[in-house]
C-alpha cells in the first residue's frame, strides 16, 4: 500500500562496486600453504608472524567445520579470494587515496563523518587499509591508532606481547583461518589515564566478488584509560558468496573503559563469521554494542572475560533477519573474579522467513563470589514464516551469584497497528515505528548519526513488509 514513500531512501547506496582489473595483487581462488606464505612475504613480515600464520593454517586444516549454529556446508572455501589489494600504499590524506576508492568512501560518508565527529578514521578496502588518520592532539597524548600491519612493523614489542593472546588460533576454525591469512584491521593503544572523548572509527568495505576479508583488530586500553571504537561494514550485492571472518581482541587493563560499537550491513551473500573477545581486568568495563543487519549467515558471539574483581561487562546486540538470512548471534560472559557484573541484552527481528537465533553463555567460575548478571532476550516476529530460537547456556559454580534471565517473543498486533494508523501513520510508517521502538534500547546507545542511519536501514528493510 505505501511502499512508494520509502523509495527515497536509497538502498543502492551500498550496492555499487569498482572494477578490480587494476589491483596490485589479486591471488587466485583457494587457500594453500603458498597463499599463506605469499601474504606474509608481500607484507614483509618478521619470521615469528610467518610461523604464527603457518601454525594457524595447520590448525585450520585439522579443525572440522562447526555443525552447530548456521548452515556452513554451502560455504565453498575453494571459491574464495584470500588476498586482494588495490594498492599497498597507506595514505594519511584522502587526497592520496586512489580516486575510485576515495569515491567509494565518499559515497559511504566516511570523510564527512571524520570531519564532523570522529577522532580518527581507518578505511579498509578488500584486504588492505588504504587510509588512516588520527587527530593530532590524540597522537600527542600517545594514542596509537593505525592499521594492524603497520603496527606489527612500528610497535613490535607491544604488538607481540598482546597479539593472539585473547583469541588464540586454536580457538575455533574461523579464528584459525583468520590467523593464517589476516590482513588489515585496526590497532589501538591508549596510554594510562588517557581518555579519548570522541569515537575512533574504522570502515570495512568488500568490493569484489568471492572476496574473503580477514581483518584483525587489537585494542589495548591501558590503566584507567577510556576509548570508544566504532566499526562499520558493507559490501555490494553479487550472486556469489563472500566471506568476512574477522578476529577482534580487546584488552582492558585495570580501571579502563572500552566500548566497541559495530554497525554492519553486509549484502545478503556475505558469510559473516567473526570472533570477538575482550579481557577485562580489575575495575575495567567492556561494552560490546553490536548491530547485525544484512549478511547471509552471521555467527558472532562477542564475549567478555571478567578477570579482575569488580570488572563489568555489557553486551547489547540487535539482529535483523530478513529473507534468506540467518542471524546466529548472542554473547558470552565468563566471570572469573569476585564481584564482577554483567548484562546481556539481545533484540532480534525476523521477517519474510528470516531466522534469528540467540546463543549465549554465562559462566561463573568457582571462587567468583558475589557475581551479578542479567540476561534479557527479546524477539520480534513479523510474520508466521519467520523463526526465532533462544539457546541460553548457564554454568554457575557459585551459590551466591545473582542471575536473572528474561526472554520474550512478540508479534506486532493488529490492534497496535490500528492504533498508530488511526493517528494518520501509513501501515509502513506504523510498522517501522513499532520496530524502531523495539530497537530503541540499542539505538539510544549509538552516536546520533549512527542512530539515524540505523533507523533508515530498518525502514528500508520494512519497506517490503506491506503487500
Amino acid at each position: 500500500m505505501a511502499t512508494k514513500q520509502v523509495l527515497d531512501i536509497d538502498y543502492t547506496k551500498y550496492n555499487f562496486h569498482d572494477t578490480d582489473e587494476n589491483y596490485e595483487y589479486k591471488f587466485p581462488k583457494g587457500l594453500t600453504r603458498e597463499v599463506v606464505e605469499q601474504i606474509s612475504k608481500i607484507k614483509n613480515e618478521p619470521e615469528w608472524m610467518l610461523q604464527f600464520r603457518l601454525r594457524s593454517y595447520e590448525h585450520y586444516l585439522k579443525r572440522p567445520i562447526p555443525t552447530w549454529g548456521g548452515e556452513l556446508t554451502t560455504l565453498n572455501f575453494d571459491d574464495m579470494l584470500y588476498y586482494a589489494s588495490p594498492t599497498q600504499k597507506k595514505s594519511r590524506s584522502w587526497d592520496d587515496v586512489p580516486s575510485y576508492i576515495k569515491d567509494t568512501f565518499d559515497k559511504l560518508g566516511i570523510p564527512e563523518a571524520e570531519r564532523k565527529f570522529l577522532g580518527g578514521v581507518g578505511a579498509q578496502y578488500e584486504s588492505e587499509v588504504v587510509y588512516h588518520s588520527l587527530r593530532e592532539d590524540l597522537a600527542k597524548k600517545g594514542v596509537l591508532f593505525t592499521d594492524t600491519d603497520t603496527a606489527l612493523k612500528e610497535y613490535p614489542e607491544i604488538f607481540k606481547k598482546h597479539f593472539g593472546t585473547v583469541v588464540p588460533p586454536e580457538d575455533n576454525k574461523f579464528a584459525a583461518l583468520n590467523s593464517a591469512v589476516w590482513s588489515g584491521g585496526s590497532f589501538i593503544y591508549i596510554p594510562e589515564g588517557v581518555s579519548v572523548d570522541v569515537p575512533l572509527q574504522a570502515y570495512f568495505r568488500i568490493n569484489t566478488q568471492n572476496m574473503g576479508q580477514f581483518e584483525r583488530t587489537l585494542i589495548i586500553a591501558d590503566k584507567n584509560s577510556r576509548i570508544h571504537y566504532i566499526e562499520g561494514c558493507t559490501a555490494p550485492v553479487y550472486s556469489t558468496d563472500s566471506l568476512h571472518s574477522a578476529v577482534v581482541e580487546i584488552i582492558a587493563k585495570p580501571g579502563a573503559h572500552v566500548r566497541y560499537t559495530t554497525i554492519q550491513n553486509w549484502s545478503n551473500d556475505v558469510y559473516n563469521l567473526v570472533t570477538k573477545r575482550a579481557y577485562a581486568y580489575a575495575d575495567a568495563t567492556v561494552e560490546w554494542v553490536d548491530g547485525n543487519l544484512g549478511s547471509k549467515l552471521t555467527m558472532k558471539y562477542p564475549s567478555i572475560y571478567l578477570l579482575g574483581p569488580r570488572a563489568k561487562g555489557e553486551i547489547l546486540s540487535v539482529a535483523f533477519a530478513g529473507k534468506n538470512q540467518h542471524q546466529d548471534a548472542g554473547g558470552k560472559v565468563v566471570h572469573l573474579a569476585p564481584f564482577t557484573t554483567s548484562r546481556i541484552t539481545s533484540k532480534s527481528i525476523s521477517k519474510d522467513g528470516g531466522r534469528s537465533t540467540y546463543r549465549g553463555l554465562l559462566h561463573v567460575a568457582k571462587g567468583a563470589k558475589g557475581v551479578k548478571s542479567t540476561v534479557r532476550c527479546d524477539a520480534l516476529l513479523m510474520d508466521e514464516y519467520s523463526r526465532t530460537d533462544t539457546y541460553p547456556y548457564n554454568e554457575i559454580n557459585e551459590d551466591d551469584a545473582t542471575i536473572t534471565h528474561e526472554a520474550t517473543v512478540g508479534k506486532i498486533g493488529e490492534d497496535q497497528l490500528f492504533y498508530l494508523m488511526s493517528r494518520g501513520l501509513s501501515e509502513q510508517d506504523a510498522l517501522s515505528m513499532i520496530v524502531m521502538g523495539f530497537m530503541e534500547p540499542f539505538t539510544k546507545e549509538l552516536p546520533m548519526e549512527y542512530a539515524i542511519e540505523l533507523n533508515r536501514l530498518i525502514q528500508m528493510e520494512m519497506a517490503g513488509s506491506v503487500g
Binding site: V6, Q416, Y419, R423, E427, S432, M433, E440, T443, I452
Partner: protein, 279 residues
C-alpha cells in the same frame, strides 16, 4: 463548509456475528452527539468501524465524510480526512516517546512534508516522510514550533511535561492514558472526534477537565461523537443530541432530556421498550 460524518443504515459484523443492524446518524463539525446504551449494544463496534479497524466487517450501508464514502479506506486515510478516535483502551508502544510520536502523527495528518535528513528528527524514530495527502498546501512545522504547541497542549489537559519524553502509554495509569488520548486529539485537531468511553475509569476532576477541553474544541471547529455508558460526563459536556443505542440500532434520538430520562429510569426501561421494535 463544515465537515460532516454520515452513517447510513450501517450493518457490521465481527467473525460472522452481526453487531450493528442498521445504524443511521449524522454528525457535523461543531455538534456534540452522545451515544448511550447498555453494555453490548454495539457502541464500541460503531466507534471502531468508523475508524476502520480491520476486524469489523461492513456488511451493508455506508459511512460518508462530506458525502464521500470511506468504506474500504485504511485508518490512516480516515485520519487524514479529519476523523479521530479516542480509544477506550489505548495501546502501549514501547520505545516511542510520546512527543516524537505526536510529531509524526501531526505531520501525517496535517500533511507537512519532511525530508529524510531533517535534523529535527532526533534518532530518526517515526520519521514521517510521507507525501502530503493534499499534494499542496501542507502545513510544515518546525521542531521548535511543535515543541511549543505540545507544551501548550500539555498544559491545557493538565499533564506533566515529563510525559512527552515517556514512551507512548507505556506504564501510564488508566487515567493518564485517557488524558493522553485527549492530548493527542488536541494536537491533531480533528474535524470529527469519536470518543469511545473516554470517561470510564476517570475520576470526577479528570472528567471535568476532559469535558472542558472537548467543549472548547467543539465550538465551531470539531464535531464530537461521544460514546458513553454513563451520563456523568454529560453534566459537564453538554451534547445537543443524545442517541440511545440498543441491540445494534439507534433506538431513540433526542436532546439532553433523553439522558435525564435514562438517569431516572435506567437502561432496563429502554430494553423493555425496545423489545417490540427489535422483533
Amino acid at each position: 463548509m463544515p465537515t460532516t460524518l454520515e452513517i447510513k443504515d450501517l450493518h457490521v459484523s465481527i467473525e460472522s456475528k452481526q453487531i450493528l443492524k442498521g445504524v443511521n446518524l449524522k454528525v457535523a463539525q461543531g455538534e456534540i452527539h452522545a451515544v448511550m446504551g447498555p453494555n453490548g449494544s454495539g457502541k464500541s463496534t460503531l466507534a471502531n468501524t468508523l475508524m476502520g479497524h480491520p476486524k469489523y466487517k461492513v456488511d451493508s450501508g455506508d459511512i460518508l465524510v462530506n458525502g464521500e464514502s470511506i468504506i474500504g479506506m485504511s485508518p490512516d486515510l480516515r485520519a487524514r480526512k479529519g476523523l479521530f478516535l479516542a480509544f477506550q483502551y489505548p495501546l502501549e508502544i514501547s520505545g516511542v516517546p510520546l512527543a516524537q510520536f505526536l510529531r509524526s502523527a501531526y505531520r501525517a495528518v496535517k500533511g507537512g512534508e519532511d525530508k529524510a535528513n531533517s535534523p529535527a528528527v532526533k534518532g530518526g524514530v517515526g520519521k514521517a516522510n510521507s507525501p502530503s495527502p493534499t499534494g499542496v498546501g501542507g502545513e510544515m512545522i518546525s521542531a521548535l514550533a511543535f515543541k511549543k504547541k505540545l507544551e501548550e497542549k500539555l498544559k491545557e489537559v493538565e499533564m506533566d511535561p515529563a510525559f512527552s519524553k515517556r514512551y507512548l502509554n507505556e506504564g501510564f495509569s488508566g487515567g493518564e492514558k485517557k488524558r493522553a488520548e485527549i492530548l493527542q486529539m488536541a494536537i491533531l485537531e480533528p474535524a470529527i472526534a469519536i470518543m469511545d468511553e473516554t470517561d470510564s475509569g476517570l475520576d470526577i476532576d479528570a472528567i471535568r477537565k476532559v469535558a472542558e477541553v472537548v467543549s472548547s474544541m467543539a465550538g465551531p471547529k470539531m464535531g464530537v461523537l461521544l460514546i458513553t455508558h454513563y451520563q456523568r460526563i454529560l453534566q459537564y459536556l453538554k451534547p445537543q443530541f443524545v442517541h440511545i443505542m440498543v441491540d445494534g440500532r439507534i433506538f431513540q434520538s433526542g436532546g439532553i432530556e433523553l439522558a435525564q430520562l435514562l438517569e431516572e429510569k435506567g437502561y432496563e426501561w429502554i430494553e423493555k421498550e425496545a423489545v417490540p421494535t427489535a422483533s
